[in-house]
């Protein structure tokens, strides 16, 4: 396989982008662990890392996370087989259910973070 195999087709390119988005996401999550460790020393000594570079990096990572999540959830309809009354549910319905669950989970987690963070 030539090193540039993923540039030969749009489908390959999008696949590599999808896989690549996990890398900066992992770095951001590692940084989050560092922040949690710092916050463990108590609120008096904690100041969040808020440089412009970090905010820009976070926004880019958020876009990557959204892209990764959307492509992942879109594929759930292909993967998950659910039968109702001996007939398989349409894959579109399964994907839609996953997106709804994602939205609900995001709202709940956001609420918990904001409520307890006050």
């Amino acid at each position: 396989m030539p090193a540039g195999w993923w540039t030969r087709k749009r489908h390959y390119f999008l696949y590599v982008v999808r896989e690549f988005t996990a890398l900066p996401l992992a770095l951001w999550l590692l940084w989050l662990l560092v922040e949690i460790k710092r916050a463990g020393d108590g609120p008096a000594r904690y100041s969040p890392h808020g440089s412009t570079a970090f905010v820009v990096f976070s926004v880019i990572v958020l876009l990557f996370a959204l892209y990764h999540s959307v492509t992942f959830l879109s594929l759930t309809g292909v993967i998950i087989r659910v039968k109702l009354f001996d007939r398989p549910l349409p894959s579109g319905l399964i994907s839609l259910a996953m997106f709804v669950l994602w939205a609900v989970a995001s709202v709940v987690i956001g609420f918990v973070l904001i409520w307890f963070g006050r």
Partner: protein, 246 residues
């Protein structure tokens, strides 16, 4: 009106003479809109250069013999119309990811070995005698596996799969789709015999869901779906307390 012509650039490789494969151009008449790439190769073989080697058989997308790379995409050459490429030249190469035996002929030994390893036939713990009648199935039971049974072993999915291209130990799309076809068949009881092969690290877990296998399949089979569903099923068998029940 001058006769329409088209250029075919075909891979030539004689392992006894050539260090590596190279392209050879042939300009041939394009006299019929229904001509396919396989017709062009047959014209070259019969009228221009009888030494060109390639596989073909049925000419109607059933046997799966004539799969080649057509302008970089795995295709059945009997189903690739010249009109879709003319007036551009068409580059015909052997299927990606396989060793070349000669010209457009690939070595399919690896695929045949993998195909056999998943036991693509109905396995019964105890055979029911013929006199006992048919194994009856409902339409819903057939629908469970019907699309996976359309595979014609053309190996286009292997040529499209970068995972197989990077690691030829990977069991590959068609073999796993066929394993799924039998595992979903209500008459089959061979899941436990196939699990060590499909559940291996070089089985379904090697796949990272590129999905190109399903795009290139000429019969509408969705091997990527078969692989991901098998991942989910094997995980459930492992995780759920009743998962290992027959």
């Amino acid at each position: 009106m001058p006769e329409k012509r088209i250029t075919i650039k075909a891979t030539r490789y004689d392992p006894e003479k050539d260090e590596k494969p190279h392209l050879q151009s042939y300009e041939i008449p394009f006299y019929d809109e229904s001509m396919v790439v396989l017709d062009a190769l047959n014209y070259i073989k019969s009228d221009v250069d009888g030494s060109l080697s390639y596989r073909w058989s049925c000419r109607m997308g059933i046997c799966g013999s004539c799969g080649m790379m057509v302008n970089g995409t795995p295709k059945l050459t009997c189903n690739a119309f010249l009109r879709d490429y003319w007036p551009q030249a068409i580059v015909v190469e052997p299927l990606n990811n396989f060793p070349i035996i000669r010209d457009l002929v690939i070595d399919m030994e690896d695929f045949m070995h993998k195909l056999k390893s998943i036991k693509p036939w109905i396995i019964r713990k105890q055979e029911i005698p013929l006199g006992a009648g048919e194994h009856r199935q409902t339409n819903e039971q057939i629908d469970d596996f019907r699309q996976f049974s359309q595979c014609i072993n053309c190996m286009l999915c292997y040529a499209a799969c970068p995972v197989y291209g990077l690691n030829d130990e990977f069991l590959g799309p068609a073999a796993i789709a066929l394993a799924r076809r039998y595992n979903l068949d209500s008459r089959d009881q061979g899941l436990k015999q196939r699990l060590p092969v499909i559940g291996d690290s070089e089985g379904v877990w090697e796949c990272s869901f590129v999905g190109e296998c399903s795009v290139v399949c000429p019969k509408g089979v969705d091997p990527a779906k078969a692989i991901q569903q098998t991942k989910l099923d094997t995980t459930m068998r492992f995780v759920l307390p009743y998962g290992n029940r027959e």
